[in-house]
Symmetry: C2
Subunit: 265 residues, 2 copies
């Protein structure tokens, strides 16, 4: 009796976990599996869909299928109670240490621009356009700082493997012309710069959702069509409640687990 696609998926999963197909290696072609298991290609394909959704393998059209290279990584979203500018750096340190333990180097690339931010971001900043009224007449000056944001796009890698995409938005009337627009934001990073500008982050929030990747995200993260991403929307507010940073962090869901730690009182 031939195997069903679930049984085939289980068998292949066991082989991957058993080391028969090592991380990063080439996975057998569908035609080969069709012959080995003596089922139709459609059945093999459905078995592979399972493994793809789980993030165990990744297919590239015209190229072939490869086994996932990295183990699941941990993203430390809060360390204990005190999240200060310095400790935000510590979280990055924890990530680097984790990767170093796995034999990888944590690396990132930053791109900076100043643009009109998406409506969702403007809304959080409290800069959304109100239909009608005065704003209509000020069309010509919309490109002024009030409606602009400094954008820091950070691409993170574990060795050569892209693992995270973070887009930081800062109100241009605060950040424009400051070192927030530099590649290297200096000691303590952007949070220290915000503090120096009189907008020290005092309150943080994160909102975690799961969704399909956009095309550009999928391309950068080398995502399979079946794979989902976590989207973490982090908002930092100063002590007057003004949003001074919105960070949209996109991570392949199969590649990460998120941890939060905090103290009572």
């Amino acid at each position: 009796m031939p195997l069903g696609y679930r049984a085939i998926a289980d068998e292949l999963r066991a082989r991957i976990e058993g080391g028969q197909y090592p991380p990063g290696s080439r996975f057998p072609a569908e035609d080969a599996l069709t012959q080995e298991f003596d089922v139709s290609r459609q059945t093999v394909n459905k078995a592979l869909l399972q493994l793809r959704a789980e993030g165990l393998i990744r297919v590239e059209r015209g190229v072939g299928t490869t086994v996932r290279e990295l183990p699941v990584l941990t993203s430390h979203r809060i360390r204990r109670q005190r999240i200060t500018q310095r400790e935000a750096g510590n979280a990055r340190g924890a990530f680097q240490a984790e990767l170093a333990g796995l034999g990888y180097e944590a690396r990132s690339e930053v791109g900076i621009s100043r643009e009109r931010a998406p409506a969702r971001i403007m809304e959080i900043f409290g800069l959304d356009d109100v239909p009608g009224g005065r704003s209509r007449k000020r069309d010509a000056s919309r490109r002024e700082t009030g409606h602009m944001a400094v954008i820091r796009l950070r691409k993170m890698f574990a060795g050569d493997v892209p693992v995270q995409l973070a887009t930081g938005y800062y109100p241009a009337d605060i950040a424009a012309g400051t070192s927030i627009e530099e590649q290297d934001t200096g000691p303590g990073g952007t949070y220290s710069r915000l503090a120096e500008l009189g907008h020290a982050p005092a309150l943080f929030s994160e909102r975690v959702t799961l969704r399909m990747a956009a095309d550009d995200e999928a391309a950068f993260l080398r995502l399979d069509t079946e794979q989902r991403v976590y989207e973490v929307e982090r908002v930092a507010r100063d002590d007057r409640g003004r949003a001074v940073e919105v960070n949209l962090i996109v991570m392949p869901a199969h590649q990460w687990q998120l941890t939060y730690e905090w103290s009572a009182e």
Copy 2:
């Protein structure tokens, strides 16, 4: 030219979002869609797989397909900085208020038992068996409190729709015989009772992962095979660092978003 499965999925998604198939209503059978779009049933099926993974529809074998009833819900994991026993109650209040706004009633059922907890839980409690040594000889007494846990299984509903499954584990040497073993744990809930027992929760951590649902979870949560769940592992520790509660919370990923809020310093 016939439509592809993606186009069909897009069309059906638009109909759902446009209200043509209202929440909770019956969705057309695959055969009907096969005729309408003039494609093979396989193609219709693949289109539906997309919508199922997104949580827009849910199929039941032998019964048919229905449109998701509830909108996405928000789970407030931390409210501001101070998480005290009282405010843990507030989070529940926020959930009830949210549901009330949607016209649903928040409801839950609690089942209590005292059992040997899974190895993973025992490990967190620091009660895992060490191979060899004294513990070997104490097999007969293993069922004493040192290796037992009080288990509170909470099933949560929005109206009649199951939305969450939470399993709370408490070390039996702390919780056995206390009102933690009662249906109604009294004012302030289990955290207040732990405080009275000299084990006030002082440090919390949560670990968020995404996974397939186990069979029993899928059955209770009425999950489609394509749908994934968030698993949140919450650990509460007292001021000596001892784990006094482990809570495994399982939520359909398409049904929830998670939020965390905290203060700097």
